[in-house]
């Protein structure tokens, strides 16, 4: 095709955008591995390989050129986001099922890159948590608390064969997340104070080990904003939505509703704020719309955590807000240069 507009040498591309997203996730991944062991690294690599396979197959079936689309990097980003959202020692098939739904259904059945109305990684997550609730709550214990710290080979065999190291029980390597611990405790009619003193999983603000992952995500997220890959509106509004909603509930009943900083210190909150809710394809495009999108997702996250049936609410809240995107965008069109504001 010959375009009538000329082409200046361009230093931007979808590949560059996606690569930078991965680069900014890296600090979080490294801290994750440092605090929780090899599981996450194996799972990331495994998910990435599945992603490339599914993507190539889907492109082939849809008679798209495979190479340029495979190299755009979007499938790997989806893989990383899903892998970071599920337990790091999750069995191999769990990741596989999640990725099939994320890329095969949520992305390619909807028309591929740029066409999906839902965040693919979150669709994968939603399918897994509904279908395999047990596997999805078996999180690795932080190495600081684990009865046994699985090495690389042990993690590999745990993921692909399910075989535990000799003499090690499952309880020694897995534990409930802080959010899950709170949830279970509340169901047993304990107060937050009692729950906190009864478990070692809680750290300074969030969870032991995991609060450092949160910090690393935050650092990567700020870098992503500084590189002008993500707009500030979504993460700021998302975190504000969490803080305000959690703050209100906490003020309302300090014994039942977790503190706002605790909620923000969960890795899922920060991953959601900077890397998931900011997905441009399934998110809002107007500046005001992004604020509404972020606030709404933050609000729903806390509501689902507090009153819902699942341990975390980030995935569902973002999917629900994805549904509202066309409406929000239509309502929040910015004023065009030289055009008077519509009443």
């Amino acid at each position: 095709m010959t375009a009538s507009t000329h082409t200046l040498p361009s230093n931007t591309s979808v590949t560059r955008v996606m690569t930078l997203v991965l680069a900014c996730l890296l600090p979080g991944v490294l801290v994750y591995a440092w605090q929780f062991g090899w599981g996450i690294v194996i799972n990331l690599v495994w998910a990435s390989l599945i992603a490339l396979g599914i993507e190539a197959l889907a492109l082939k079936l849809r008679s798209y050129p495979v190479k340029p689309f495979l190299l755009d990097g979007s499938a790997v980003v989806t893989a990383w986001l899903l892998a970071l959202s599920i337990p790091p020692l999750a069995p191999w098939w769990l990741t596989l099922v999640g990725m099939i739904f994320a890329l095969g259904v949520a992305k390619h059945l909807y028309g591929g890159l740029g066409q999906n109305i839902f965040n693919p990684a979150m669709i994968g997550f939603a399918v897994l948590i509904i279908s395999f609730p047990v596997q999805m709550t078996q999180w690795s214990a932080p190495l600081a608390l684990a009865g046994h710290a699985p090495g690389f080979a042990e993690s590999l065999s745990l993921i692909f064969t399910g075989a535990l190291p000799e003499g090690v029980k499952l309880d020694a390597v897995i534990s409930a997340t802080p959010l899950d611990t709170v949830r279970t405790g509340l169901m047993q009619q304990h107060t937050l104070d009692e729950i906190h003193s009864a478990s070692q999983i809680f750290g300074q603000i969030g969870g032991v080990g995991s609060e450092w992952i949160t910090a690393a995500y935050l650092a990567g997220g700020i870098a992503l904003w500084a590189l002008r890959i993500v707009p500030w509106q979504v993460p700021v509004a998302f975190l504000a939505g969490i803080w305000l909603t959690a703050g209100f509930l906490h003020w309302f009943d300090i014994g039942r509703y977790a503190a706002p900083w605790f909620q923000i210190a969960m890795p899922s909150s920060m991953l959601g704020a900077f890397f998931i809710a900011t997905d441009p394809v399934s998110g809002c495009t107007t500046p005001k719309g992004r604020l509404i999108f972020g606030l709404g997702a933050g609000f729903l996250t806390v509501i689902i955590r507090a009153f819902g049936g699942y341990p975390d609410g980030v995935a569902f809240s973002i999917l629900l807000m994805n549904l509202c995107v066309p409406l929000i965008d239509a309502w929040t069109q910015p004023r065009v240069f030289g055009v008077a504001k519509k009443k």
Binding site: M1, S4, T7, P9, T285, T286, P334, V336, F337
Partner: protein, 547 residues
């Protein structure tokens, strides 16, 4: 110090100004053949007033301004008219247009030049001279200056001299201001006089410090109260609406011109040409053209109008691997053939090579990242407009202010998916215009048909009545038609006419009504580009599988 304002969006691509800005303006050379188009401005083509075989002198009028929106054209060197006919001209679609070809005799003999006593003359008469001396906007739009110098109903409080020159590669205004600032400001003084503007401001991008210094020195020398203001170098900061906003904070309303907010904008080159025209009687027969890009010695050339652009490039030094010529800058310029002549609108001839202008990378789907919305100087949502244009949802595209797009190309430049967004908007605009035209034609046909039916019906009725009346008068001394009855008939006809007219008014579409001559010219231009774009769009807009 003038408070500067920021317009939305904008980009800053690599400037590439140093290639051509260091060397002084090259004196004009006389090509063997000059091909001078009769339409070099927006509006009506000039009427040829010479015949084949006529001897012409340099500066002699060869085409007369035809109508209000028009400007004269002149011979840029002495010689003989050898042909009046169609030649390929600088046009986005590569169209041919009526041109006068002059075989030059190398003597460069001037016609008699008469300075114009503009200070003691009726402004309307001065504007007549401006038109007859062929002055049109040299910033690229080539709107006849005689019209822009007529304040009409809207008083102009601020005259802006546009020295923005925001497009990469182009340096003709920079060199002009450095070398000929005095005449530029003399021209501005004439403009101020004709427009009766209180304030004169010259906006020059801050990457041209020599030009700013030269203009300031000239202002001091003339004792002319002009504010020389350095403005940030952001593309498209030299656009009329953008420089108006930057310097005055006034936002030009959608679909209007800056004159609607009391600001008139002229390119510095136009001011220079105006000064030359009125103070020395020299018509617009040459302009400064930046010849740059893939050439051996990039430089600005004082260029005779009608010089083939390929010859300019040859003069600057052809290089191997030249893949084509662009007239204008890389953002808004378009491809031209080497034989197309330089015209009043030619600010730059840019030789392309695969290295400087690589083929556009593969177009990927839009990921709605909104880099385009951030870069858009009109605060549009290019990602939505792209979507609507692709889906041929033209109603929605208009609702999202498609027609406020100035086609500056910022969106295409920043797009990580390398989508040629502006092409999609041009396609949508031309489709909308075409549809409205068709609709208009259909409306007119329908109205004619309806009126014909109405007339036939009326005639039949009248005939019957006449016959009846005749029969009655024959029968007895029956009274003639009552005046009441006649009135009723008349009223009926009037009502029917009014209805037809109201209908016509009601269905008249928006975008093809009340067009400025600029817009009309744009429509004509886009119209001619349509076939090409359509074909292209067919390939890109339909199945994704061809990606």
């Amino acid at each position: 110090m003038r408070q500067l304002h920021q317009f939305p969006g904008g980009i800053h691509p690599e400037e590439h100004k140093a290639e051509s800005s260091a060397r002084p303006i090259h004196a004009p050379f006389i090509p063997n053949k000059l091909v001078i188009p009769l339409r070099q401005h927006i509006g009506h083509s000039a009427k040829p007033i010479v015949k084949v075989g006529d001897k012409v002198l340099k500066g002699q009028m060869i085409g007369q301004a035809d109508g209000y929106v028009s400007a004269a054209v002149h011979a840029s060197s002495s010689g003989v008219v050898t042909e009046i006919g169609f030649h390929p001209v600088a046009h986005p679609s590569g169209l041919s247009d009526l041109c006068i070809t002059i075989e030059t005799n190398g003597q460069d003999q001037w016609t008699d030049l008469q300075p114009v006593d503009w200070q003691n003359m009726d402004p309307a008469a001065v504007r007549g001279y401006v038109r007859d001396l062929g002055i049109a906007g040299l910033g690229g739009a080539v709107f006849p200056s005689s019209i822009k110098l007529d304040p009409k109903s809207q008083p102009v409080h601020t005259l802006i001299l546009n020295g923005g020159e925001c497009e990469p590669w182009i340096t003709c205004d920079d060199r002009l201001m450095r070398e000929r600032a005095l005449e530029v400001l003399q021209g501005a003084r004439i403009m101020q006089h004709l427009l009766n503007a209180q304030t004169v401001v010259a906006g020059i991008e801050d990457n041209k410090s020599e030009a700013i210094a030269a203009m300031q020195a000239a202002a001091d020398q003339l004792g002319f109260a002009v504010e020389i203001v350095a403005i940030p170098a952001i593309y498209p900061g030299g656009g009329g609406k953008q420089i108006t906003q930057t310097l005055t904070g006034l936002e030009t309303p959608s679909g209007k011109l800056s004159t609607d907010v009391g600001v008139q904008v002229f390119n510095v080159g136009t001011a220079y040409s105006l000064a030359r025209a009125l103070m020395h009687g020299v018509p617009l027969i040459s302009r400064i053209v930046t010849v740059t890009g893939h050439v051996l010695g990039a430089q600005n050339y004082e260029t005779l109008i009608g010089t083939p652009m390929g010859e300019l490039v040859t003069h600057a030094g052809d290089r191997e691997g030249t893949s084509g010529l662009i007239m204008g800058g890389p953002m808004m310029g378009f491809d031209v053939k080497p034989e197309a002549p330089a015209v009043k609108a030619t600010n730059c001839v840019l030789a392309k090579s695969a290295e400087l202008f690589p083929p556009r990378p593969r177009e990927l789907p839009c990921i709605r990242c909104t880099q385009c919305a951030i870069a858009c100087p009109a605060s549009l949502q290019p990602q939505d407009l792209y979507w609507f244009a692709r889906a041929k949802n033209f109603g929605k595209a208009q609702e999202y202010n498609l027609f406020d797009c100035i086609e500056c190309g910022c969106c295409s430049y920043v797009c990580p998916s390398h989508i040629p967004l502006v092409d999609y908007y041009r396609f949508a605009k031309s489709e909308i215009w075409a549809r409205e035209k068709e609709k208009q034609a259909a409306d007119i046909a329908r109205e004619r048909h309806e009126f014909r039916l109405f007339r036939q019906e009326r005639e039949k009725k009248e005939k019957a009545e006449r016959l009846a009346a005749k029969a009655q008068t024959k029968k007895a001394e029956a009274p003639t038609l009552g005046s009441d009855e006649q009135d009723a008939k008349k009223k009926m006809i009037e009502e029917a006419l009014a209805r037809a007219q109201a209908k016509k008014a009601a269905v008249a579409p928006k975008n093809t009504d009340n067009l400025t001559p600029e817009q009309q010219a744009e429509i004509a231009e886009i119209e001619s580009r349509r076939a090409k774009i359509r074909e292209m769009a067919k390939k890109t807009i339909e199945p994704e599988k061809h990606l």
